[in-house]
Amino acid sequence: MNVIGDGLAIVRGDAQADRVVPPTGHTAWLTTFTAGAMAFLAVFALALSLATGRLAERWSNELARTATVRISAPAGQEAAQVQAAERVLEQTPGVAETRLLDVEEQRALLEPWFGPDLPVEALPIPRMIEVIEDRQGYDAEGLRLRLAAEAPGAVLDDHTRWRRPLVSAAWRLRILGWLSILLIAGAVGAMITLAASAALAANAQVIRVLRLVGARDVYIARAFVRRFTLRALTGAAVGTVIGMAAIALLPRASEEGGFLTGLGFHGWHWLLPLVIPVLAGLVAFAATRQAALRSLRELM
């Protein structure tokens, strides 16, 4: 009994062979419903993974630009210290880029505190270097120590580091999403295997009769495999469509912050959940086939 032949048999179909397997009411619904419910959950898990992925991506990007090095030094030493600090930063692993803020930028930063009329030029404002980190991030303590040694007037200010756990939480949430998809796939596989085994066990008489009249095992197995694969496929397709509709109907997150744009699929990501029924069909095919061959071996 070869896999490809079985696969083709499903597509081709055989009205005669189909009739020999009884329409097993409750088990049929059980399989279809299970596949549907699991597909529905899978759509949500997928959406969650994608959304948290986007979220984590964004947060990482925003985080990357939030640290500054502030250099207050007597007028004469300022330029030298800025250079020293920039050198240190360049050599620090995890720092992607540095940029010295100009006066206008500093004024913009201070505006919330003093209003727009602040005489920046007149104030003893320190120079600031924006530190853009890469994905891995840098070692803040190490950087502080090196700065203290080489540019004593420079102070690393990474007060927005508190957002970092958020980002790692978002990444973890995404992993959780993928894990649940795996879990759901496993559960579907197990359930369909069990449902198929139950159906085969309940149909021991059918198998005995077919054997008695000279049906080959491949004939019997194919009839069952076809039945279950189509059921899982149908159920999963319906579940996926309902899941996608539910997600499309979910209230959008307000876009004002643009930070978390809700649980929807974006662009071509809408195609991703369509893989679910196909996968479910494949899982069902493999599961039923294996269950059928085992049952047929057991039932002498």
Binding site: R19, V20, P22, R211, L212, G214, A215, R216
Partner: protein
């Protein structure tokens, strides 16, 4: 057609059948009797490959059953029509489709055999039940349907286990006639029954041999039958 060579069988406990040798030549007509639980059904199952002998060699159509794969067994079943003692059907299909099942399964076109099918159904008295489902049949009707299913393919051999247990005498004679007819066409017939009247009736029509299981072995029954 079927040869048993020093065959023994045991279900796990003691031996049920011991050292049986027998040759069922093509075109022969055999009855098998013996008390209930003697091993008649077991013997028949050994003949058509539903059980494998624990010792000895059974060969059907020239090949050793032990060497046969599942597909070979399936092919053998198409050449041997079998009536089980507990007649089982596909309960969701009507009687006529059940009777035609051997044709369906072997991929033969049912259309060309339609006349054959309805003739057979009327011979076994099931014309009225052709569209009934098997669970709606009476006990005797089930046995008749099972016999019809066994002979629909005109198999080389027919093995029937107690085919008239639930059937009245007139109908039993009708079924016997069908089997005798097949035997005259050269088919091999093997029937397990405890109905001695049936055996007597058959002996008047064909030269049937009567085997009896006694003390775990096979004897040829005497002229008293």
């Amino acid at each position: 057609m079927i040869e048993l060579d020093d065959v023994s069988y045991s279900y796990g406990g003691g031996e049920l059948l011991s050292n049986i040798s027998l040759d069922l030549p093509s075109g022969s007509f055999h009855f098998l009797t013996g008390p209930s639980g003697a091993g008649k059904t077991t013997f028949l199952k050994l003949c058509y490959g539903a059980l494998l002998a624990t010792r000895g060699r059974v060969s059907a159509f020239g090949s050793d059953l032990r060497d046969m794969g599942r597909d070979d067994i399936a092919r053998l079943r198409r050449q041997v029509g079998v009536v089980h003692q507990d007649c089982e059907f596909l309960d969701h299909l009507p009687v006529e489709e059940n009777v035609a099942l051997p044709l369906t399964v072997s991929g033969r076109d049912r259309g060309t055999e339609a006349a054959n099918l309805s003739e057979l159904l009327s011979w076994v008295g099931l014309s009225g039940q052709a569209r009934s489902l098997p669970p709606e049949l009476s006990g005797g009707e089930r046995q008749r349907a099972a016999l019809a299913r066994a002979v629909i393919m005109s198999p080389e051999m027919v093995i029937a286990d107690e085919p008239t247990g639930n059937i009245d005498w007139e109908m039993s004679l009708r079924l016997l006639k069908l089997l005798v007819e097949l035997n005259r066409m050269g088919k091999t017939i093997l029937i397990a029954t405890h109905d001695l009247n049936l055996i007597r009736a058959a002996k008047q029509q064909v030269s049937a041999r009567v085997l009896r299981i006694k003390d775990r072995s096979l004897q040829l029954a005497g002229a008293d039958l």
